[in-house]
Amino acid sequence: MPSKELETQDMLLNMGPQHPSTHGVLRLVLRTDGELVSDVTPVVGYLHRCAEKIGENLRYEQYVPYTDRMDYLSSMSDNLALCLAVERLMKIEIPPRAQYIRVIMAELNRIASHLLAFGTFGLDVGAFTPFLYAWREREMILNMFEYVCGARLTYNYMKVGGVWKDVDKKFAEMVNNFLSIFDDKLKEYNDLLSYNQIFITRTKGLGVIPRDMALAWGLSGPIARASGIEWDLRRAEPYSSYDKFEFRIPVGRPGIGVVGDCWNRYFVRIEEMVESGRILRQALDGLPSGKFSADVKRGYKVPAGEAYTVIENPRGELGFYIISDGSDTPLRVKIRAPSFVNLSVLPEISRGVLIADLIAILGSIDIVLGEIDR
């Protein structure tokens, strides 16, 4: 074989920060042998805005908008996680209606975020059309958010004690309208992409994360569930009355793909959208009347102490750790960003794949750089 005699050099390749499919300003330094990737080094920090440090200099209510800009694809969840942490310190009882509204918003946001993950994953493997289909449906959700809080991306909708504004009949109608068409749309996505033979060959058995590895790397969210770990904080440690809803936790399973591969990571998200739809229906039907926010005066002070709350963000476990010294500003804020933890496994699962596969693996991890760099 000539390959023994012919010396070839490794190529060092920058992928990102300005690259069409690194999902933001992630930089990957690849060492490739031909097209085979032998090593990947993620370089993060291009979007670092000191979000945690800023939190230590602002009052709690001023800090909520900054959480919008962390995971900008699911700002509602980030709002919620911060509010839950502060509420735990303040020991406030949240009215049931507020809790339900929060659930509705978080689930709508989850669908919007998963739609985007679905679309961009299609883009990563070369299918352009599903991306625009996904954005069409995401648009409906953004319209609902705009209707209820005036913003389409950075909502600042949740506040300590509840939410800023009540939802009305028209909002419920919009959600119902969306849910009535959404199942058909999901079927369309499945026909177009999920069960497409080329798509399956591209993603099946690729970037497999075995169950043990997922546990060892602290992965969470759809990625961990795709590896067969039935772990969902909405079920395991219910917050905001998630214990009142019935839903299934989709996990990766053998069949079309292998447990823990790209296809399962992708498909778990599709199934989660179905479950989110179920939760939404239940929440809308059972929406209690009453106050949409507890009485919290502006400029409130938070009792000294520390609190850590985790919620199930579309990308995994989102944690807010807050230490209060009794003033109206936190002493210390630390955020556990799911994307950051999930990204850490990338080098491990992408040695020896092709460059095209690396893109697919990255897409299936579904990162948001705003959250990784904070």
Binding site: S21, V125, G126, L132, R202
Partner: protein, 352 residues
Amino acid sequence: MNIWDLAKIVFVIALVLQGVPVLVWLERKISASIQGRIGPNRTAVLGLKAAGFFQPVADAVKLLFKEDVTPGAADRFLYQLAPLFVFVPPLLVFTVIPFGNRIGEEHLQVANLPIGVLFVMSVLSLGVYGVAFGGWASNNKYSLLGGLRASAQLISYELTLGLSIITIILMAGTVDMREIVARQTRSAFLSWNLFGGGNLLLLPSGLVAGLVFYVAALAENNRLPFDLPECEAELVAGYHTEYSSMKFAMYFMAEYAAMITMSALFVTLFLGGWHFPGLVDPADTSWIGGLLSHGVFVAKMGAVIALYIWIRWTLPRFRYDQLMRLGWKVLLPIALVNLLVIAVIGVAWGER
């Protein structure tokens, strides 16, 4: 060389060059309607919007005025030469394609070479140089990867393309392009090579050859699902990453010109060229008949290209090794076996 020849030369070049903006517009409009968008609709000439028809023209004007950057690290000579190499072959192939029946004594074809199909094959294989030169000369890693992918892909699928063309020659018994079309005009649809060229026994072989040719043509044109040399998700823009301004426009136009040429080739070899039963009479040599036959030819090309576009906006793309596997382990054996089947039928039944 007379005035007719010159007129035909200008006409064909204009046909391809005018075809490019039309095709770009078509692609953008069709993809928009597939994706539930509107597509280009803002450009206007003298207030005439024409559903964004002038968008490609506006793009071309914009590119003309853009600064042309030659990267400092590039190999200047090859870098400048590559756009020429990539654009000329698809234009050149069109010389031997009969784009209509005839008007008077003048056949609507620039040059009828006795080696027609061989000429097509040899010119088509030149296309790989432009891509490989451009990819290497840019001194950019993405371009290099794109250029290398392109060369491997183009040579692999060229074989399949060649083998399916050979099956057509076996059916037609000639490499003369005009003759190949003439043989497909003898009766109705069934005389088209796609349907066996008039021999019902060859119908499956014709269909298989057509399918193989079409898939290989997609790959030769770097269209989805085989657009690996320039897939934006991995290689940014592939071999033309470093090109800007008119040189980029050359690559861009060459891509569409190659699509036009390939579809014209498909129409000529498989779909009976300008022939359409009941619409075009091969014996009619009047102006009307000639123009009608040209219209039929263009309409068929349009249909072939529409399928191209539809496929592009529906499917995800293959991975590199999957593409090579498909080419070498699926299409090539199929084409070979198909060739043998046609030869056996030809020997067993003699002259059709």
